[in-house]
Structures are given as C-alpha cells and as structure tokens.
Symmetry: D2
Subunit: 311 residues, 4 copies
Amino acid sequence: MSDVKDFVPKNQTVNELVKQLKLTAYNARKLAEAVDIIEEMVEDENCVKFLGLSGALVPAGMRFCINEMMKNKWVDIIVSTGANITHDIACSFGEKYIQCEPEKVDDLELRKKKTSRIYDIISPDKTSIRFESEVQKILKEIGEGNFSTYELIGDIGKRLEDKNSLVRVACDNNVKIIVPAFFDSILGLQVWMYSQDHKMIIDERKDLDFLINLHYNLKEQGKSSGVLILGGGVPKNYILQSVIIPEKPHKYVVQVTTDVPHYGGLSGATLEEAQSWGKVDEKSKLCVVYCDATIVLPIIVSSLKERIYKV
Amino acid sequence: MSDVKDFVPKNQTVNELVKQLKLTAYNARKLAEAVDIIEEMVEDENCVKFLGLSGALVPAGMRFCINEMMKNKWVDIIVSTGANITHDIACSFGEKYIQCEPEKVDDLELRKKKTSRIYDIISPDKTSIRFESEVQKILKEIGEGNFSTYELIGDIGKRLEDKNSLVRVACDNNVKIIVPAFFDSILGLQVWMYSQDHKMIIDERKDLDFLINLHYNLKEQGKSSGVLILGGGVPKNYILQSVIIPEKPHKYVVQVTTDVPHYGGLSGATLEEAQSWGKVDEKSKLCVVYCDATIVLPIIVSSLKERIYKV
Amino acid sequence: MSDVKDFVPKNQTVNELVKQLKLTAYNARKLAEAVDIIEEMVEDENCVKFLGLSGALVPAGMRFCINEMMKNKWVDIIVSTGANITHDIACSFGEKYIQCEPEKVDDLELRKKKTSRIYDIISPDKTSIRFESEVQKILKEIGEGNFSTYELIGDIGKRLEDKNSLVRVACDNNVKIIVPAFFDSILGLQVWMYSQDHKMIIDERKDLDFLINLHYNLKEQGKSSGVLILGGGVPKNYILQSVIIPEKPHKYVVQVTTDVPHYGGLSGATLEEAQSWGKVDEKSKLCVVYCDATIVLPIIVSSLKERIYKV
Amino acid sequence: MSDVKDFVPKNQTVNELVKQLKLTAYNARKLAEAVDIIEEMVEDENCVKFLGLSGALVPAGMRFCINEMMKNKWVDIIVSTGANITHDIACSFGEKYIQCEPEKVDDLELRKKKTSRIYDIISPDKTSIRFESEVQKILKEIGEGNFSTYELIGDIGKRLEDKNSLVRVACDNNVKIIVPAFFDSILGLQVWMYSQDHKMIIDERKDLDFLINLHYNLKEQGKSSGVLILGGGVPKNYILQSVIIPEKPHKYVVQVTTDVPHYGGLSGATLEEAQSWGKVDEKSKLCVVYCDATIVLPIIVSSLKERIYKV
C-alpha cells in the first residue's frame, strides 16, 4: 500500500483534486477510489451499467449530472425512487424548486402558503397542480394497457418536450428507468387517479423479467454488470438482488451513502456483506463513500468528463 | 415545561423505567414521550392504526412484538418491506436465523458455506430453498388472478400453520399487510418465478385504492389515523403520502429511526417537514426517537402491556 | 452461536428485558452483551474500574445512575468532560435544568430571556451566577497550590453539602475524577478567574502520574482494569492511552456511542482498532452499543442492581 | 431565496464547482456557503481567525491545507487535539503514515507486526520510537519552566527543521497552537516522561489568559473573531466558550462535522444553540457542512486559493 501524501491545495481542476485525494485517507481517499472504479466501469464495453437513485436528488439540482452520464453511455439502467421521476417531470414543465433555510422556516406557515418542503428546498403547490394536469394529459395519450414501470416511464419520456428532462434524456439514449415502489410517489398517485376510469395496470413482474433475463444473458455472453448507488433504499436492494437468481455477481459496485452498517438495515449494509449473498464476489471492485451525494456526484461526473473527454 | 429529574436506577419494570425517563432528556425522554403518544393512539377507538416496518426486524427477533400489537388491536394496517414478510414466512416453516460476530466473519467464507449475512445474523441457503418450495406450493393453491399485495399476503397467511407467524397473526386479526415495493424482495422473486407459467398479477393500485378510500371514509366519519414508523424508507413515505389526496392529516405519528434530517432524504425528514405537506397538522402528536428499533420496540410493547393489561 | 429467539413483550423487569434481548440482534443484542461484560467487570475484585463520561449526561438526569455505580464500587475512576462536573456542582446548589422543545424554541429569544440551551434542556443564567459565587467561595477555602484535577475536584467535593452530588459521592466513595481538558469548561473558567489573584496551578501531569503508576502496579500485581465509556471524546482516548506506556491492556471495554468508525475519528474508532495499539488485546472482552447513553445507562444500572442486589 | 439550478458537470476548476454548488441543495449548497463565509472572514482584516482541529487530519494528509491557510494569514490561532500535533511532529522527522484497507486488516496481526491503525492508515511503532527520542532531545533543549501549551508548542516548532511541519509553519507565521487536553496525546505522554526528572509544568491557565484577553481587546477595539471548526470535540467547545466571559460573540462560524444534534453532545450541537449561549449572535454568519473534513478541507482551501490568489 502507498504512503499517505499531503494534499496540495491550489487552483486546480476537479479531476486534479480527485487524483490527489487518492493518497489521503478516510472518505476523501474513498471518493478518489470510487472515481477510479467508475472510470474503469464506464470504459468496460462488456459491462451493463446501473445507477441507483434514492433521496431527492433531482430537486437538489443533480439532474444534469445524471443526464451527462446517460448521454455518455455511462448508464444503461436507472433504478429510482418515484420521487425523483416525479420531480423531473415537474421540472420538464418549467416548474422550479426554491432554496430555503430549514432552521428558519415554520412548516405550518409553509402549508398556509401552499408550499411543501424537502429539507432546504421548497416546492409550491402550483407545481403539483401543473404536474397533475400535464401528466393526466400524457396518460390519456398513452391510453390503456399493462405496463412495466420502465415502459410507462419511457412512454412518458417520449412525450416530454424538455430536452433537459432526465426522463426524456433516458428515452433519447435508450436508458430504461425502473421504479420498484412505483405507487410510493406522486407519479404513482397520478396513475392511480387515472386508473379510476381507465384500464392501466402497472405490472412490475415485467421489470423483473427484463432484469433477470438481462443477467442470464450477460452470464451466457461472459459479460458483466456494474452499479453506482446514490443513497440506498429500494434501488440498492433491487439492483443487488436482481443477480441472485442468475447467480451472476456484479463486477463493480460503488455506493455513496450516509447510512451506517451497525443498525442492521440494507441501506447501510457493507458491500462485504453483499459477498455473502453472492451479489458481488471476490473479484468485484467495491467502494463505499460515506458522504452526501450532492457533494460527491458533481465531483465524480466532472472528474470523469475531464478524464475521458478532456472537456 | 418540567424540570429535569434524575433517573433512579433500581430493580424496576420496563414501564417504571419509561415513566422515569419522561423527565430526563435527549432520546430517553423521546422514548417516554413516544410511549405516551402510542398509548393514547391505541386507546383511541376512532383511530385507524398503521405500523411501518423497514429494516430486517423479523430476523432480529422482533416478530412477537409486532404480533402482540396486532392481537391487542394496536395495529390495523402494516406497511412493510418485502424482506420482513419473506423472513416471517421462512420462520413459519421452522427455519432459524443464527447470531454471528460481524467483526470476525469473512463474507467470502460465508458464501462458500452457503450462508448469507444480515449484519450480525446468518441465514443459511437451505432456508431459501425451503422457502422456495413451500411458497411455490402455496402460490399454486392460491391459483391465478390479479392481487393487491394485501390480498396476496392475506391469502398466504391463511395457509401458514405457524400461529406465531406475523403474516398468520395478521390474517387472524384482520390486519392488512401492504408491501409497496413488492418485487424488491425474495417473496417478490418467488411470485415472479411462479408467474412465468401462471397468470398472477400484482396490482398495487388496489392497495392504494384501499388506503385512499379508507382516509376519505375516516374524514367523512370524523375519525382519525395514527402511525408508528420503525425505520424509514418506502413504508414511511407510503403511509404519510396516502393522506395527501384525501387531505386528512394523521393524528399521531411516532418514528423510531437512526436517519438524520440534514442529508435531505425522506427517511430522516423531520415530522415538522411533514406538516408543510399536510401529512400531519398543528394538532398532530409527533415524536421521533433516534434509536435502533430493536431496543425501542421491545420497550414500547412491554411498557404498553403493563400499562393497559397489567400483564 | 445461538439461534435468534423472538423477544416476548410483557410486563417484565428491566433485567428480564435485557436477558431476552441477548438472543435478538443489532444493538439490542449488543446492549445485553454490554450488561453481561459490565456485570463480569464489577464482580471482578482484581479489576480497577473506569467510567468515561462525555456528552451532557448530568443535566440530562443521569447523575443518580453514576452515583449508584460509585456507591456499589462499580467505578473507581471517572474521566469526564468538565461540563458534567460543572453541571453537577451547579445542581448541588439546588439549581435546576428545564426541559424544552428544540423544534419550537428560538435561540435568540432564549438569550434575551437569559437562558442557554443544551439540545432539549434549558439552563438559566442565574444558575451560572450562583455557580460562580459558590465556587469562588469554595476555591477560597481550598486556598492556593498546585493541584491535579482529581485533587481539586476532590477538594471541592468535600465542601459540597448535597449528598446527591456526584462530585460529593465520588469523594465519599474514594472515586477519583479526572478532567483532562479541565479549562475547557465553566468550572475551568472559574478556576482561571480565581487564579487571576491567587496562586492555583492545575498540574495535569499529576493526573497522568497517578494513572500510569496505577497501571504499572496492576501489571506487577497481576490485576486488571476495565472501562465503561459513555460517549467518546477525550475521556475515551485518555483512558485507553493510559495503558500504552505500562503495556497493560484493559481487560473489559464497553462503549456506548453514536459515533461511527468510517470518518476516522477516535470517538467512533472500533475497539478492534484499539487492539492494534495494544490498548486492549485478544483476551479483552469488548462491546460497542450504538445508542444514546440516556437510554442505555438507566437500563444497564437498573439491570445490574437487579442482578447483583435484587433490589 | 434563489431557485435551485441544475449543476453542470464538466472539466472545471474546484472553485467553479463550488460556485455552481451554491444553487443546489443539502450539503453541497452548505459547502458553497461555507466557502463564501470563510472568504469573507479571511478578507476581513479586523477579524482574528481561529481553526479548530479534531480527528486525525494530519496523518490523513491534510497538513498542507492547514499550512496554506497559515501562510496566507487565514488563521491566527489553532486549537487542536494533541494527536494532530503529535503526528505532525512525527512527520517532521521524516516518518510516514501508510494506507491500509480497514475491511481486510486483522488488528491483532497489526499489533504483532508492531503497527497501530487509525481507520485506514497504519503507523509503525518505529515512528513512535523516533518521535520519543527526538522529542526528548528537543525538550531538553527547551529546558525547564512553566509553559502554556502554545508556548511549549511554539518552542518545539522553532526547533523543527522540516519547513512543511505545521508546527514549524505556525511558528514561522506567528500562529499560536493551543491544545486544551494536552496530556491526552502521545506528545503529552512525552512531556509527562520528561517531567519525571525535569521541572516542566504545563499551565493551561495561560492559554486561557491569552484567549480571554484577546477577546476583551477585540471588543474594545471593535474588532471581531471567526472560526473554522473541523470536526467538533474539545477544540469546538474551547473556541466557542472563550467568548463567554468577554461577552463578544464570534462573527463567523463554519463547522464541518459528521456529528448530529439529536444526541445532545456539544460536537453536534447546532450553531443556533450557540446563539442561546451568546457564543454567536443574530449578526453572526453561521454554516454547518455535514461531511467528512478530508473531502471538504481540500475543496475549501483550493477554492479560496483560486478566488484570492488566482493560483
């Protein structure tokens, strides 16, 4: 192993910063290791790339980071909470999220002003109202049927005009978006409303069909898969468990989280624990960065842009 | 407000301990306040009671606490991760979970020995194998159709012989169990396998139908709802968001969690934040205990037993 | 290792609760293991017992738990932050701490009302004023000289009339109290003020002299030492490092903390890491409970009372 | 307040990254606000600047960041744990810290190999041996007497040849280093050994004298003080409490921590809570970034270099 080397602070690019952090310690070092693993993953042409999204990253301004990853073919499949997809679609209609000071707001006042809070972000009710009317229009266009979540989200994406929408970018770049807890979101509530008088069934077996067949195929073809998990939650578990039946461990797993192992939850479970389940194996490249993803994701994507495209 | 009073340590019952903690500080005080709110909630006959379950509480030995709550009519609806339901069903077949030392195990060795780890608990592969064969039999008995998750889990519960199974106890006590991310679990994988050659659709709109109608009815009847959230994750969000369309805030909300507000995730979001969404309002009784649920749940249920039944 | 056994909730004593938790998982199990190790430690007559105190445990109502431990000879040496000693002395003059709701207070208002906040506890300025006048009187009685922190605190303890004061109880039971960051406290500020026109030197070498000689003696006599660490901080490091020069690892170490290992700080460092320093060795009994000490300490002391004294 | 704006990932400098993060959310936004406050602080010529250091930041490779701050007059007084000073002095003798994988090491093996671990860093015993022999030589040169910690550390700094040592850089730039828990460190143990047959007293009243007089003077002169706190612990409390007697609130306070408020400890206490103590007031500029300091410090210092020196 290397000696620790003192970080030299100076006017430097994000990637230069990351390169230097590799020889430090704790989560700075882990961040640098994560970038190296993700770089190897995105340059591995025989690897299908997953992105797990939990936490309200889209209203926090992380959309373009995810879009950039999709446009560069650094992601093939996104597994997300419904909230991120809801917020993205709302943004695509021109709606905005507004910064606030969580220490200073009175939440009962916010309600009276018809606004909702996500930590230090405010979303006005008018955003939800607009979201409702536009989404109901789109669902009518889509019609009726039995949909996997990736099919329905794909069908919505095609109908979004905003080229900066991550749902639209996913569509344009053949990235599938799976939302395993689909009805646990405002988008889910809209589909529920629509389905009161239309035949629309969300059939999540089909999402699983797609994923499990994918891993069987990768196994047959000697190809691999890799994952960047932002947060934890259902997306983490879903992506990791999808390889259990095909018995095809993920080759690369990077998790950015602030959850800890010692309370027994899966969100904070170590990637070593995942080895005991066969979700990864002794050859897998593993890294956990314990940090807020809003700090780490911009650094990862900026650093990779510089490494790979020099721009 | 009261003066802090020094806790007197002595041979005492769990409820006596809790009563004393009420006059201390930090999470000891919060634990005592939580018990008071839950006591008020369970004695409120005009209140529908929810329990949110995330984290692997069943393999951690928390089943009987949940069963006790159901038998006493302290819970009407459980919203859970699929993992807890999976583990409960496995236990109902006589399978066991085994303690281990996370600092000392080698996860690659565990895999070679065909065992999987959940922090300090080991589950042998034979449990999964048994789970698979028994669940496939039960699914065949259930047949085909379009099921909400509470219907399917109810239909499984009826067929479990173990009277200590929480899925069975739920069934025996008319408690509905909803699993919003159904396919994100080993039980979900089994249903997926079964559905390869049987027509079984998991239609989660029906779960939402049930819940939203329930809240509309409660509103009409001037009744209320309350929640005990163990952990966070999808169960927390799902239970809280279910009142948004009916605009009927929960009256009681207690959360036991180790997640924090300042990373922006919903799991750690404060219950004040929930006020800005109308999920609770200014009259709601709110309490967060920052603690591992394996410590808090046994204390809450033992304390309530003593308060209400003196046994 | 044992199978996990479902916890049976019922009207039961604290010790019965703890006994049952031993067969569960996560921190519930750790809490039970901690009580077993501490029981073994307190019954080990050849063991000198340390208690590390950080966090504002005294204003939180934990004094009597610590007093109980001293009266039962379960503690020989306390290493504490100065704040806990300051608060105890203030309480000994009849001053009170008052509960508050941290979500609802305005800290600028609190200042205007001449009160200071410790999370959910309020301390009025009159407490500090009383503390100042009484402590200055006591210091005048003590006179001048060169003191270790345990000598000065012992000299103060003798002069406190309140038999419930932990500083007084320490005095009455020959427990030494060491405060390694002595001037980092309101008591330290008072000594600083006093020393403006009196010759009082706090000579912390003498604390270290005492401790290091103690460990050399224990080593010679084949005796041992054990530690209960509540929180982390300076008390943890100080107690653990005191065995490095004598090369006499602690035999028992239990830590109750909410700090985590992966940010690199000593407060959250694992006790395995302490093995690499020789602070503990392969025979040491080690246990970390990740939990708020205000919940765990009352349980530990009540449980031990029942086990050892049946009262 | 501003709308959230999507972060644009690209090849960019660290400061450009920070500028963009200002319009995002959670800790990314806080990091950007922290840099703005620190920029304002370092450009405020009427402000005395403090740096609080806890956690093993020096072995983690953060020395040059701190040196850079001192050389640019961005820091006037450092309050640190003894460990950081110990490690810096060891490095100044050419000793190295080595990276390791905490998941893979066996701490009992590390001890057998005569190495100690700090999370993911290894320190060989030969470093301590060298440290001992060199420090004893230096202490002999310094001689005998009654020293504040800043005087002794200053006297050591003068004698270090390594111009990259932070203790030396402090010396060269008239930065005082105060270590309130002086004997809670290996350096403290060395002084204790030396004092076995030499008259050396560490008189920490003198540190406090210096600080409290400083704040009285600042008050008289209408000047101010500001603080960057890395971690929490004794340095945080010590710097904040030093203004209580002079009643001169700090004007700028930025804390980078991973400690949380809800367990009641001072390390995680909010800066709003500090308002109730008068440590800061309504005009103070306050910011907490919840993040590992090894990630945040290199970003802050690199960003400031670019802003202020364009290099």
